[in-house]
Symmetry: C2
Subunit: 182 residues, 2 copies
Amino acid sequence: MKKRELRSTTAVVPCPVVLLSVRGEERPNIITLSWTANVCSDPPTVAVGVRPKRYSHRLMLEAGDFVLNIPSSRQFENVVFCGTKSGRDHDKFEECDFTPIPASRVSSPMIAECPINIECKTTRVIPLGAHDLFIAEVVAVHVDEELFESMQESTQFDIARLNLFTYVPLTGEYWAVGDKMD
Amino acid sequence: MKKRELRSTTAVVPCPVVLLSVRGEERPNIITLSWTANVCSDPPTVAVGVRPKRYSHRLMLEAGDFVLNIPSSRQFENVVFCGTKSGRDHDKFEECDFTPIPASRVSSPMIAECPINIECKTTRVIPLGAHDLFIAEVVAVHVDEELFESMQESTQFDIARLNLFTYVPLTGEYWAVGDKMD
């Protein structure tokens, strides 16, 4: 197995892709992010890296909360749009035809069209360099009813119905999630 | 879009899967982890959530460094093994037929069989609850030569050759990465 050493880079793959929604004084904003993970099971906690120069960074500090909306492949175009345009110049909810709906425990809105919505309250912000790390507790999770198996009582998701995709920073490509491993 | 509210849980999906290798006094150990992400681009930084009760937690504190090895589907069985057995009772390198090779800038060994190896130096450890968050700078990255496109000069990976897979904590399932999105 011959190896090639690269310059030091962000090489954890594959990465989740989230649409982070956050309230704002004028209007709520959405930003596409991939520097994010579940980092603690109890209390359920996420970590999110955001560049201080991004418009949403200030909104996140002001709101003290945000929602991580997990997109399906159906929202792929909007994911690219929200990752390349600034909320300074665009009303992303309106331009993406996304519906803001109230969250149950945070002040930021959720994106109705995304199949999973994760309400988060920021507990600390750690400067790392190009990105600040927002550590936040998950306070509520909402899932589209249609993702559950057919039985009314079921608590098991059918992951295939999510049409998830993933980001690969080494090439800047998005790849669909395929089949379940046996 | 009717939504169902769940109990608060770790719902960011899909998640990367890594084999974290770390040196130890007696022998190096390997632990399968999914609570991990790239969190800062400059300096390249990763965050990794590890339960304090895990055997590797102490080794990570003692070593001050570790390697994140990205497995391909070929290593799937060993990923499950390293995620369910403890290094207290098992020599995981030996039992998985994994080859430890020296890293270039950290004291922990890399797993030769994994197509990507990310050398990391811990910069801080933040207790979050069930998990401690290790924040670490990426100091070197190694990639299997065979992952590059055919041309000698190429710096572009062929991601399909990685045979990546991902973890979905909502169901505890592993799913293969499928096709590139257009």
